[in-house]
Symmetry: C2
Subunit: 264 residues, 2 copies
């Protein structure tokens, strides 16, 4: 029985009202194309596309966009050689790319958050899942110990942490992706009696500067920035597992992301 | 002869048309107050305010805002204990805080950029100063060597670098603060034949993902993220030197910033 791109996408979007101005789309690709194999990944990097071709998969499902812009703005890229080589690779490949961002964040619980908490084996500690943050009560650990645990479970070589690293934490707020900004995170410390916020990324002059002041005032509030890709890739891994269960006749692969930054 | 807050601010803003919706302001503080001493810093952190009091300075000039928000939005902060303790410290101190952001970025060259390039002793290599970026031709060094040089000159313990760290670079674009986003930086590689962009910070799914693709395609393009504070504090140091020359009777101090993140 033939499975098409359109059927997979309809399944992924089922039950979710269309998000306002959604960035989610199938481009390139035609809904009626038969799925030969599926790859999920944080982003459709040049390497992910090449790996999909090697694996014989023709549908890539990614969380972030292809061309380095949330809104897929391409002004200034037209003559760029990296853009052109990637565009040529995609155009000649027959591969379809579906961006799955707004819909999965609107799952209950947020499908990307669920993937991260599952990877951390922290689902039993969830107290509440709010739309943008999950509030957890974990067994007491210091910030350093939590950072070590995150590195080990997520296979990441370094983590950025602010605050008193020796402070013991049990109340933790987790936010994926670019939700680490001050307006999202700072009120949580007081409202949710948090010891620690774990986020993907956010502007450095917002939450980190708040933590700098809290530390100076002798308050044990802490912040860990996992990295944007590092916080969201597990959600795409969970997606691959679920697609493999739903479509047992179709090869489904999750391609993990390597950290883009080296620490020097 | 008495020097007032207002006179210092008029001097700093002289010759620059008022920027549209500027965030620059004296708050708290009255323009007619006599200056007893000046402190410059990246931000008016709790520690910087305490150090200013210890030094007997009553005018703090900072680049970023007091309350963790570019637009000084305070919703959700009213009952926060860190906010309240800092506000009480400021209210009881008699200190004036002048935010000097938009005006100094509109100097020719950008006063914050000038401070960074001077600290790096890279001014002789500047080819062109554009409003948001300076284009340099430096003596050839690898990305790793440049990262080591930046760490040593700016006294920062680590640097995030993406791309081929062994690639030799001579064409370099430098952008301070939050100018590391894709729309600002990606077109520069081609237009200015850059080997390397050095920026303060920017969204991780933009320029870093572009560099990931460039590397995969075998192109030696690289990116270094200095950190927001790390890239802009030298501009506030240069400001202190200039104010000390202009007002020899007034004590002027620059307070450096310690990295807010630990690498774990």
């Amino acid at each position: 029985m033939t499975l098409t791109f359109g059927e997979v996408i309809r399944h992924l979007e089922a039950g979710i009202p269309e998000p306002h101005n959604t960035v989610d789309k199938l481009e390139p690709g035609a809904p009626e194309t038969e799925v030969l194999g599926i790859v999920t990944a944080f982003s459709a990097s040049h390497e992910v596309i090449e790996q999909a071709l090697t694996l014989g998969a023709n549908l890539i499902i990614t969380h972030e966009g292809v061309y380095y812009s949330h809104q897929d703005r391409r002004e200034g890229l037209e003559n760029d050689s990296v853009f052109r080589q990637k565009s040529a690779l995609i155009a000649g490949s027959g591969i379809g790319i579906y961006r799955f961002h707004d819909y999965v964040h609107r799952y209950t619980p947020d499908g990307i958050m669920e993937g991260l908490l599952r990877e951390l084996e922290w689902e039993p500690y969830v107290e509440r899942n709010l739309p943008h943050v999950s509030i957890l009560s974990i067994p007491g650990m210091t910030v350093s110990e939590i950072a070590g645990y995150l590195k080990s479970k997520l296979h990441i070589p370094y983590i950025r942490a602010a605050g008193n690293l020796s402070a013991r934490c049990s109340r933790v707020g987790v936010l994926v992706g670019y939700r680490g900004g001050g307006a999202s995170t700072i009120p949580l410390y007081e409202q949710e009696s948090l010891d620690l916020v774990i986020a993907g990324e956010g502007p450095e002059w917002e939450t980190p500067e708040y933590i700098r002041d809290a530390l100076r005032q002798g308050r044990d509030r802490a912040l860990i920035m996992l990295g944007h890709a590092e916080s969201e890739a597990p959600g795409m891994k969970l997606l691959a597992e679920r697609l493999a269960l739903r479509y047992p006749g179709v090869p489904v692969h999750f391609i993990p992301v390597q950290p883009v930054f080296h620490m020097v």
